[in-house]
Amino acid sequence: MTTTEYLELRDIRKEFGSFAALKGVSLAVHPGELICFLGPSGCGKTTLLRIVAGLETQSSGTVIQAGKDISRLPPMKRDYGIVFQSYALFPNLSIAENVAYGLVNRKVPRAERDARVKELLALVGLPDSGAKFPSQLSGGQQQRIAIARAIATSPGLLLLDEPLSALDARVRVRLRGEIRALQQRLGITTILVTHDQEEALSMADRIVVMKEGEIEQIGTPSEVYRSPASPFVADFVGKTNLLPARAAGGDCVLVGDQRFACGVNGVAGSSKNLKLFFRPEDVMVRNVGSATPNSAVAVVEKVEFLGGYSRLTFRMNGIDQALFADLSVNDLAEFHVKAGDTLRVAVPPDRMRVFEAA
């Protein structure tokens, strides 16, 4: 079996008693990419990672790593490094001993080992911490040591299980960039499990969005964000306006009494229940007139200040649901929008997507 993929999962199923945690998951990971398993808790993303690591056993299905079937290999026979949410640093060993833990067992000569530890500590930006104990480091520093330990033996695959969840927001954002840079420098194939969509969007080459044991969508961050494959993905990744709609002929749909034209994937002729999707930042207020396509009068209910932008909650005639629009500071300054105002807004047809409602 020859393949250019580094890791292949074929029809992985996992049942815990009568509960199906994974319902036949197949996917391929390219060499050197960072792929992200994204989904809400209970979607099976961690179980899938643990199956790749051999820490859980799939009920059925095949795992192929570097052309070799590893489906039944015990963890010690597989080739990966792993970083857990808890870091799992050995508390009674020094940082250097932690990083060297896997090297000692491979009978790497002492001098070589020390050099490698030094190299790794420099790589993760903590060159002077070798003599310290884990409890003397901050959470972010411990996280980096855990990565150094995982890559010390130069594994072919790096598994990161919610590596940033235990850190505070600021450190998390900084470490995102650092981990990504390190991964690209080493060119190591990496699987990152997270429930944080921002983390996935900013770090991944490709994102696997999962829901209830199944893959909803695989795609690059911009594909997943701009062209979600399902209402679930649209709603889970980023802030969304998701409205019940019905087909109105051509590329048009009706939401309540409002008619919208959709440029991209109109479902002409279909009369089923539909859902209309667009992002808050796709709502325009500038240069909108009555002739602008998909324009309507909006009544502003609330303006929520969020720093770099503000989020408007508004209503449209004939639509029961409240809608959201993100306005830049400039737009806000120009239009002086406040609660109770009315203004004309529009959503460009090419930003609309229509799904068949489940």
Binding site: T57, S59, D69, R72, K77, F90, V104, N105, R149
Partner: protein
Amino acid sequence: MSAVLPGSILRLRVHWTDRIGNALLATAGIALAVFLLAPLAMILMKSVEDKAGAFVGLANFEAYFHTPSLLHSIWNSLWVSTLVTAITIPLAFTFAYALTRSCMPFKPLLRNIALVPILAPSLLAAISFIFWFGNQGLLKAWLGGSQIYGAPGIVISMVFATFPHALMILVTALSLTDARLYEAADALGTSTLRKFWTITLPGAKYGIISAWMVVFTYALSDFGIPKVIGGNFNMLATDIFKLVIGQQDFPKGAVVAIILLLPVAVTYVVDSYVQKRQQALLSARSVPYVPKPSRAYDWAMAAFCWTLAVLMLAILGMAIYGSFVKLWPYNFSLVLDHYRLGLVDAGVIVSWFNSVKMAFWCATLGAIFIFVTAYLMEKTRGLDPMRPFVRLMAVLPMGVPGMVLGLGYIFFFVQEGNPLHFLYGSMGILVICTTVHYYTSSHLTAVTALKQIDNEFEAVSASLRVPFWRTFFKVTVPVCLPAVLDISRYLFVNAMTTVSAVVFLYSPKTTLASVAIVNLDEAGDIGPAAAMASLVVVTSAAVCVVYYFLQVWLDRRTQAWRA
């Protein structure tokens, strides 16, 4: 590609290092089956056989229930145990409350005094009360015409013996409460009494139930106290001894053992249910409660605690004093006769050496077995069908009174055909039986310590291709060392003081100190009996001091990483 047949269960191949772990776990499981389950099963078998070994169905039970004197013991055991519990729990709760929720001075000292009874065989209190209130007791006049022998002596000796066990549980339960609850209550202007009823008691509820069970079980199954101070007052534990040792009536002994097992089994089931609920209450984010000084209240608490402490010291002190008195009650000069003549010259001192030897092996081999088994259960994978069995075996001993366990051991190991028959009468069987007897607490201590360390260490090690034993020795053992020492000390002290299980199992070559106390007392040598009891207390106390310094030393060497 691996061909997986539809419907078949996919299994990972087992790495050879993991096979070693599985083999060790299987060995532990078999050992527990042989040394716990088989002896207990033998009791069930014996209870439906006659003396010749023929099957007689429930005839033994029928005979038992037609013997009024034996039947009376059930009633005695139940009401005495209930009374002991009803006295001990409120006393221990108040004491624990003072330790955790007041600012009285000398708290560590009071705590240590209150825990002293643990270091002594339960018989010590009985001997002491004989010195105080017995036929020739110093304060016999205080009793008016009534006697200390029988129920009164049993009850107050048992209160003394069970107090520290209840205290430890209640102190833990009361320290668990979250200070934030009290802050919230204060912010809402809640009265002290209402806080007590709505926060303190519910928070300690499971601790109280647990303490209740422990004390009740202890009182029900203790043998030493009713033996020494019980006089003609019969209880189930003494009945077993009389039937088995006195009358050699094994089948009826088995029947009493089963009856003794019943109430203990009930309390045991309740307790394990309670333990499960208790764990859910704990949260890592709780803020510990810090009491605020309050003059009158702190003084009242101090007065209560010192009263109990003085009484306890009086009980302990009297036994020690009595061991030095030349000839009670005629010559109160203090001499070493009971130690020199009564123990050393009479050759009884050998028992003390035997006890130390047994305690040493329990504290080393026993502790290692328990910790390694707990580790294999918590941290290794594979051998899934065996795990529920081992888990059950680990918690079962708590529900088995020592007398019952000891009786099962005789039944099982006395059989000539048993390949392990050679253990009968050896030091080995005493070590094994005692380790099994005190298995559950030790196991739970080990599990608690193991659960506190990160669950992913083994996964990380496997990903780095490090075999599990390397991580066990490099990380798990060093991190859990304080708990291992706790287990070891617990086993040592209990092995020094235990009577119930081993009273059936010692041979002329392996007599034990605690059993010697029973025999000396029975022979009327209460002076030497007191001397031996005192010796046991001193030994246990000395060993605790040794463990303390060992801990300090190890802390310095291996625990530097604890920030």
